[in-house]
Symmetry: D2
Subunit: 342 residues, 4 copies
């Protein structure tokens, strides 16, 4: 449910306007240098501030609760806690009667029989991703020297993403965007058939980020229109480098040693200031809603660092898992019919 990973495990907790939110990171190897300060650069990238992002201001300073001793990880679970300070919860009462168009308000109310915390969207807030980003900081250390870099390629269909976000905000509206991600140095062999392909795990975690509606690896949807003779990536040497990288670094669900490349689509934020047609479920009648409160006009602006974290978490988990396969060689048969040529 609120956990992800097999060996490098991340447990998320918190609600947008509750006392605190955070993450418990289990399975982190001991001896990794780690401090709160290590998290700040990535957490700052996730923080709002640009035109088109929410006016809510949270310091987002994670407090280490456990799992770190004398500046290094101990091997015990690492609990990071981030206190909610700038919450204004009065804004949200109305949405229990008038669910926001495009928002989880209605489905969540049904799912939790009305007991869910509606303030700030409760668990459905993008704010929960702060814990994911903090976990990503540790994951990035585990996968080093491999590296991950994501960026907002376009917003609202335009490449001048920040300007477009500002335009949407000025209109009392919101816009989506497309985030591209590239990881270099990913060891060949990461990913597990049949069900835990690298693409399966990445998409699983990426779709956990609020607002994601699509993902494609390498050529993605364009591949569906290509001939195999064009799409197939030919080996360029015996080390595994390929001439092209149409498959985005993943063959048969397994990293092939070339750069991992994917794109993901972020929908426009649901909460907008301009008037929308809505429905009052208490009075059972249509109405007009202008969503008050502080919201991102373009949450996509804040997504790249979250995508990086998600990618690093998946790679860290698979990297640890891959270690377990290395127990085999001591069993390679000698002098019998089994000849594993390579």
């Amino acid at each position: 449910m609120n956990s992800f990973g097999r060996l490098f495990r991340v447990h998320i907790f918190g609600e947008s306007h509750g006392p605190a939110l955070g993450v418990v990171i289990d399975g982190c190897p001991p001896g990794l240098p780690f401090s709160t300060e290590d998290c700040l650069p990535d957490l700052r990238r996730r923080m709002p501030g640009a035109a088109g992002t929410t006016a809510r201001r949270e310091p987002d300073l994670p407090e280490i609760q456990s799992g770190v001793y004398r500046g290094g990880t101990t091997g015990a679970p690492i609990c990071l806690r981030i206190v909610n300070e700038d919450a204004r919860s009065g804004d949200y009462e109305i949405f229990q009667d008038i669910p926001r168009p495009g928002h989880a308000d209605f489905a969540a109310g049904l799912k939790y029989c009305g007991f869910n915390d509606p303030r700030g969207g409760g668990m459905f807030s993008g704010r929960l991703t702060a814990g994911l980003v903090a976990a990503g900081v540790l994951a990035k250390k585990i996968i080093a020297p491999a590296s991950v870099e994501a960026r907002l390629a376009e917003a609202g269909g335009r490449e001048d993403a920040e300007a477009e976000a500002a335009r949407a905000a000025a209109e009392g509206d919101s816009c989506g965007g497309i985030v591209t991600c590239r990881a270099e140095g990913v060891p060949a062999g990461l990913g597990e058939p049949f069900f835990d392909s690298l693409e399966s795990l990445l998409s699983h975690l990426i779709f956990s980020i609020p607002g994601i509606k699509g993902i494609e690896f390498g050529e993605g949807f364009a591949a569906a229109r290509m001939r195999g003779s064009v799409f197939n990536d030919a080996l360029a040497d015996s080390g595994g480098a390929t001439v092209t990288n149409h498959c985005g670094g993943v063959s048969g669900g397994i990293a092939n040693g070339n750069p991992l490349v994917f794109r993901t689509a972020v929908r426009p934020t649901a909460s907008i200031g301009r008037a929308q047609t809505a429905w009052n479920v208490r009075s059972n009648a249509p109405c007009v809603l202008r969503v008050p409160g502080r919201h991102d006009a373009c949450f996509a602006l804040r997504v790249p660092v979250i995508v990086e974290a998600a990618t690093a978490i998946v790679l860290a988990d698979l990297l640890l898992l891959n270690e377990t396969g290395k127990i085999a060689p001591k069993y390679s048969p000698e002098g019998d019919s089994h000849d594993p040529a390579r």
Copy 2:
């Protein structure tokens, strides 16, 4: 690894040219009528036969090994076994020296230190999906009266998919395709924040199908170019029906009661008969490869029923999981300050 699901659990086994392949389905409720014959319509849809599909002919008759008694499920694990009969393994020796462009040959050899079964692609064969389709037959029974329907919307960029597949085959080439899927009657509330959103679980399982390179829900990538005022789906009544369905039936990762709609991209098959530039990793030199053997020119033709099975499996698992939440009402507080209005 080769398991999927929390409550309705599917374990896959088998290799393309090994003695048998199959699936163990755990967590299936007792008392569900089930027989081998129930699997045949969907397994036949997965079987080759059309122009553009492989010439290999397997009867694909699943044998029930356990979990069924007097025509009904017992609650014990259901093992279905499908014997491999028409395997011609001599065809595959060469790919250990000359990995097929676009294929998992190279990455798999590295991952398994050369011990993996190379015949027919081993575990990386589309043939493994027969077990998934069989499990899907049970899942469809569990989710009834909800229903799932997938179809091939285009192949090689053209809507006359079968003709395009035949053209690719005639060229000694292959082509990809786009499969659309729609599920009706999905109860609102399925899907679990934070990590097991409905989109997360579906994409996880869909990307397990060999050859999938992209997935998008509702408007998907197009949503990234839309304004929120256009994308947001307004409620049309107090039951949850929306005027539009741009989100594809999933809000905040949770089914909202409207039809579940997604599209997925299938890459062209890697193995093609026409000459490709390749690399001989034994002689460490470039070479030309014409892949012999029997392959699908358009595996996408066979994907719709697999996508249906994957979708039904995810929905069945979430449906069972949702039952556990219904234990709550006996605890709803009475006469105190907690007023879960709805």
Copy 3:
């Protein structure tokens, strides 16, 4: 690793002398009344105070971080945090050179390559069980009206357990004890073949409690010396009540509706004040060690409430799981050959 449960999931974090410890409880149904005060009676039972327990004094007030709104659970993960206040860490440096006899010091140092937090035993402290007890409070609410009661039956082989603990303490020594547990009202059918028998899950969680060295259900080891004609519990009515309860309420790994009864053995605390032969791994020579610091002479005194929590957690998880099986009846075949007689 530091997680337990399939549906009612408990994640533990914290170290004995770190900033805080706690628990994240995932999968708790929404709508359960819950407050910090609810935890206090059980947490007080776990707290030291009696002769024979440690002099360390922690207020053990859990702070709710998430998952509770207006006095009720929301369905989101519940994070409970307990701050460490009365830690005196200087006491523990020596044990890295001279591992305590009978303690995890040596094995833990090896396992974590020396990076583990040695203060207060780090993760290996009985203090971690505070989180377990807090989770047990919620679990007890879920399983109601079923109830669990554990008590210390003997310490150091004597039934006047508190007096014996005081004697051991006065000797600068420690003693073990035997805790019995009885749960009434457990619904028949809890427990899952093949691997998740009720005894399997209970023993798994009970052996997580520091110091447990044995567990037996019903007649336990005595059953090994009995004839079947004596051991077998005969049904006394059609509802499932049995004349005797030699099996302790579990048949074939499944609760049979009679009281669940088991006993568990707690070893004497490792840290004792009197002189012991030890080994200095730095100087590679034998030595004499008197363990300084504050320790329980009889940790068993504090174990009953932890055993209750563990039992309630297992039962809550299985109770939620059992709900999922109830989806079946709608599929019971009508008018065909399948006749599930009962």
Copy 4:
């Protein structure tokens, strides 16, 4: 449910009188020599034959369905199937009306709403352990050079176990027994706090074996009557060897490098030929039952090899898990305050 293990995963399927039973073993490293013949010695030890064991004769030849190629494991799931041949199912109809005293008949019928396969006890048969023993053969290869040996120490309270079993059989009765297990060469560090202690995992799997009612490690229940000064095992050298082994090789839930030692109690078989008081749930009245059919008078005779398999499976899983911790050293901090002395 019917799965066990985190990395070395075992999935059981089958019913006593169904077409076949077996096991899927996932996560086995590639390159391990393996053939059907490797399983025969252990499977023969599990087979009946001695006085006091059932007259049912099954050849128990496992057929490899997948995961093995040219005599070695491939890294893919290994499915082993054992066909049921000597089943006589007519014997079991009566137990739906008259549940056997001491048997799971009644609880299972309730749990599965009467849909479970009653023949031969269905999933609740000791026969299911054949798959466990086969999986144990692979696990023993993984843990080598560590070794596991279990034996029947007593039956019915007497050390001449086979004679006592024959006596019980002659009386139309059954008897229990005590199995001791010892593993040598277990690397220090296996076992995971907080919840997956070595004792937790072993007891979890051991209690899955039908008929187990107790387990104790090292001194076990006797430890509860000992002083710490007696119980504590003192280090004898810097390598971790201890002078005594009262803790049975497990400190703080972690293997300490000394022999792993535990004892487990097997109850007498429920099905006995002599007359027992029972209850007819159809006529709702007491009755007398003489259980027909072929049963073990002392199932404990067949348990040692199953206990060995369970132990090896747990150790193999933890051994693979331990590999993942070895990724750490590259991160050991240099030139800073963190000095992990050892």
